[in-house]
Every structure is written in C-alpha cells, then in structure tokens.
Symmetry: C2
Subunit: 323 residues, 2 copies
C-alpha cells in the first residue's frame, strides 16, 4: 500500500527527530508551514546547502543509513569550515517510490548522526522523483568570529587536519578499480562513506586561523580557492602532506601522494595560521584531540607551487571538478 507524504514525514522523521533531539532552541520543528527557531544572542547565523544525486555523488547500491550519514556529514563539514556550531537541519528528499524499509533505514541513519552532533531536523519536504538529497544546515558563530577563505596573508602557515587521499582511494575500491588488503579496504572505504565532519577542530580555530575551508574537491582544487580569495600564493611541500599507512601501503608512496593532493571528499579542514598564533593552534587543537599537519606556507604572488624535499615539483596533480 502506498503511504502518503504526510504519513511518511510523520512516521519516520518527525517523531524520531523530535524524540532524539530535544534542542530547546527549536520552538517548533516539523509539522507546520515552517520551523521557528531561536538563535542565541550576539551570534551570527551560518547556513550551507548541499545536494547529493544518485549516480553522481553516491552509488546506487549505497546503504540508506550510510547515505543519510554522509549527506549530513558533508553539510556539517561546511559549517565546521566556518568555525560554526551546528544547530539545525532541513531535508529535501526526492524518492523514486514510497519504499518504507529504505525510508526507515535512512531515517535511522539521519537520527543517529543528528543525535551524535546534537542537531535537530527542523523541516523537510518529501517528493517523488529521481533519488536526490538536499540538506540545508544551519549553525552559529559568536559575532565576528566566522572564518572565511579570504583571510590568508603572506607568511601564514598552511595546515590540514587528519590524513588526505583515503576517501578517494576508498571510492576507487568501491568502484572495483583498486585492490587492497581486507583491513585497508575497510579503513579506506569507511573514510569514504563515513567522513568525520571536523566540528570540534573548526570551532577551536576561531580567533586562530586566518582562513579555513573544508577539502571536498581535493587539496589542490580547494587550496586554489583560498589562494584566489586571499590574493596570495601557496607553497606546498608534497612530502609533508599527511598520509595514512593504509593509503601508502595500498598505493605506494608516490601514488598515495598524488591521490592525497588530487583526490576529493576528504572533508578535512584546510586552514592557514599566522606565525604568531602557531602556539595557540597547538594548544587549541591538542585540547580538541585533532591531528593536524603543516604542509607549507602562504607567500605573496599567485597560484600553488609544489615542492618535493625542497625542490620545485612541476608534475603535481591539479584536482578535479564535479560539474
């Protein structure tokens, strides 16, 4: 029996999310024409939207709970990159048919990550059509403390959190284009399917990082955004780019470095820090328990310049674009 849009929303999202996420700043969530929310005083609202389309951003066979997790994580990663605390989420879900078991699993995955990060699903729309998920995530930063891409200055050091390239390798494995040992396979695929939005790192960078963004299109492509927005050049030592042992053992060092630079969907933070705030950075990220690595320096000029052991590297990969 086909179930109606209202029943769908009621059954799988409204109840679960209201039960799981009792945020006091949600005056009214799902169930009216719009949600009504209370933003904290002296804060600014931070808003981002991302769409995931079947066949483009995820494979047809992805488990619904994993898809829900990743859809939310990708949006939270954008909030993290601004230094924001996540608070609320709206979901626009387009489905080819009323598939109750699929929906139940998707809702469970969504509720789980919302609970984990303490965010509330406050609105949504369910429509029929090709499988597409659009999330709008909202959060806040103390007034004036949002971290943009355009703040990098010559002399600032370039950092990334975590390791790069794992997600791109995980995707290749899922596509059947790369073989790996069972352990490495599990690790790399999980890094692709369940990236960790760096919320804690992002908020720790307030007042410390001069520029920040998340790495979704690969280090090379995304660093270009910072360089362009800040009107500076970036100088990157390839051998300093942090790699997981799983990636190096699976691909070999040189190929691992290429994937780490050109791959995508890392959802790690890429940020710049002035020399004078390097000490504060170590303290802040140390307290947050987030690994981070200096991979180079911002200078005057333009473009990205790669080095290998201090020597200019002319053969560095240059990233990719979705569309």
């Amino acid at each position: 029996m086909a179930i109606s849009e209202f029943e769908l929303i009621e059954r799988y999202f409204r109840q679960g999310c209201q039960r799981g996420n009792q945020r006091k700043d949600v005056l009214f969530g799902i169930g009216d024409d719009a949600a009504i929310l209370r933003a904290p005083d002296n804060n600014q609202l931070v808003v981002t939207t991302d769409t995931l389309v079947e066949g483009i951003h995820f494979l047809k066979q992805i488990e619904p709970a994993v898809l829900a997790y990743k859809s939310v994580a990708v949006n939270l990663s954008d909030l993290a990159a601004m230094g924001a605390d996540p608070a609320w989420l709206t979901l626009a879900l387009t489905l080819p048919e009323s598939n109750e078991p699929w929906l139940a699993e998707f809702a469970a995955g969504l509720n789980q990550i919302c609970e984990y990060y303490g965010i509330a699903l406050v609105g949504g729309d369910t429509t029929r059509g090709p499988l597409t998920i659009t999330l709008t995530a909202m959060g806040h930063v103390p007034a004036g403390q949002g971290i943009y891409r355009h703040g990098a200055s010559p002399g600032d050091w370039i950092f990334v959190t975590g390791h790069l390239g794992d997600s791109a390798a995980g995707l290749k494995i899922l596509h059947g284009d790369l073989a790996a040992s069972d352990d490495h396979r599990e690790f790399l695929v999980t890094r692709h399917l369940r990236p960790t939005p760096r919320i804690l790192a992002g908020r720790s960078l307030r007042g410390i990082a001069s520029a920040c963004m998340d790495i979704s299109d690969g280090l090379a492509g995304d660093l270009r955004h910072i360089v362009k927005a800040s009107q500076v050049s970036a100088h990157v030592e390839i051998t300093d780019v942090p790699l997981s042992s799983a990636l190096v053992e699976t691909l070999g060092l040189e190929q691992a470095q290429r994937v780490a630079i050109a791959g995508g969907e890392d959802y790690e933070l890429l940020f710049t820090v002035p020399e004078a705030r390097k000490g504060a950075l170590m303290t802040a990220l140390g307290e947050a328990g987030v690994s981070h690595t200096c991979i180079g320096q911002i200078r005057a000029g333009e473009g990205i310049h790669y080095y290998r052991n201090g020597e200019v590297e002319s053969d560095a990969p240059t990233g990719f674009q979705h569309f």
Copy 2:
C-alpha cells in the same frame, strides 16, 4: 564548451544576487563554505524547504524564469503563513546538463523575485542530474509572534485571502484539459504560474489570527491540517468560498466551487480569527490591501463539514495529495 560549477555559480547567481540584493544583514553570501547572516535581536528564525521536480511539480516546457519565480514564491508563501518577514534564500539546483541560456534566464527570474521581495540568495549548490530545484527560505518574526496551525478555537471565524481554484484551472488549461476564452486563459494560467506569496497579509495577521497556513494542497486538504492540529471541527459554507469571475465563467458555478475546494497550489492564506479580533483584522488587511473572505466557523468536534446555503452538503470534494 562546458562550463564548470564554479563558473556557473559565479556568473549567474553570485554577481546578480549580490548586486540586486544589498541586504546589510548578509555578512557573507555566496562564495565560501557557508553564508554568514545577522538575524535581528528579539526575533525568531523561520525556516522552510520545498522541492520542485520536473514532471511532478512543473511541466517540462515551463520557461526557466517562470520556474524560478514559482520556486521562490512557493517558499515565501510558507514563510507568509507563519507571519514571517522573508530575508534569505538558498538554492540547490540539479540540472541535466550545463545549459547556459537556460541558466541565464533562470537566474534572471530568480533575481527578479528576490529583488521584488527584498530577499537575498545567500548560498547554493549546483549539481548534475534530473532537473530538481530545492529552495530553503529563511525569515524572522518578532519573538513569540509566529502563527501556527494549532491555535484555532471553537467560535473562531475561518478566512481565506484572494480567490481559490484559479491555479488548478490554470493547470488544467496548460495540460490541454480545459478550454477558456483568451482573457480567462491568460488570467488563470498566470495564477498557476505566478502565484502571489501573501507576505504582507501574513505579517498583518500577527497578533490577530489564531491559526494560519497557506493553501498548497487545496482548501479541503489544508483545512484538515488546521482542524487536526487544533483538535476542532470546521464548518464551511460552500457558497461563501471566493471565486474569480474568470473561474466561474470558465467552469460554471458548481464546478468552480468544486475546484476551489479540491484544487491546489492557490498559495492563498487560510486562517482563523477569534470574534474579538475581527475588527482588528479588517483594519490590518484593509491597510495591506489584501482581499479576504469569511468562509465558515470553527466549532468543537472534529472533521470538516460543508454546507450549501445553510444545508448540509454531503457531496463535497476532499482534496488531493502529491505523493
């Protein structure tokens, strides 16, 4: 030549929207990981999301500027139904291919309605896939003045703005299922393609209406939401439902009444007002220049009860559901 996602966004949305909508509360709009916005003090945030899918919510041959208009209008209508002032918008646009002329027209339509209502496009995502548009609209109400669906009480009068049924008739005309004179055709089709979000009416109803929603699924279906949320019954006099002369002349009175009750996509406001605030209503909506009509009364009990010239009507239509 294919153009990239970044160029697309840059060319058609970022520049146009930043030029057209210089809201001072947009600290940073499109072009970073997320937008940063300043909400006014002592207000609450109002958020709604709607998706429009080709073939379900609009016809393939729709003009892109009209599609942009309608996508925004539908979301603003939800904000209006809460009594909110609209402020910001994010757009997730999924397109089957990079079609520059289409995008240019879509962006022009979007910029036009954004300028008209003084709202700013603050973020977006452009992806490849079947044509789908998801908008998230944000606005605000003074704290505590949002108007919900659940506030109707026995004795309250039931009102609607404007006329009902025109949009449903316009859609039938577009589908080739209904003939009309040239004048009526133009009027009814325009009412379908370019509904007027009742922003001014919605904000005028603050402190006056006990419950409010917009009519998107037809009067019968939507009134059921108010009745259910408020745990009351509604008593509607069919002959009082406001009809345009174009609708009556095209369909005849009785069929026009049926379409006005069961049709959809009117995007008029449906609201209830206690007897004691009827005078305030006339003043407020009179000043806003919005026509409105009393169509019945809320009583204890449940369900919707239709009358024709005071006699119980058992044959009233019951609305439709999208999904």
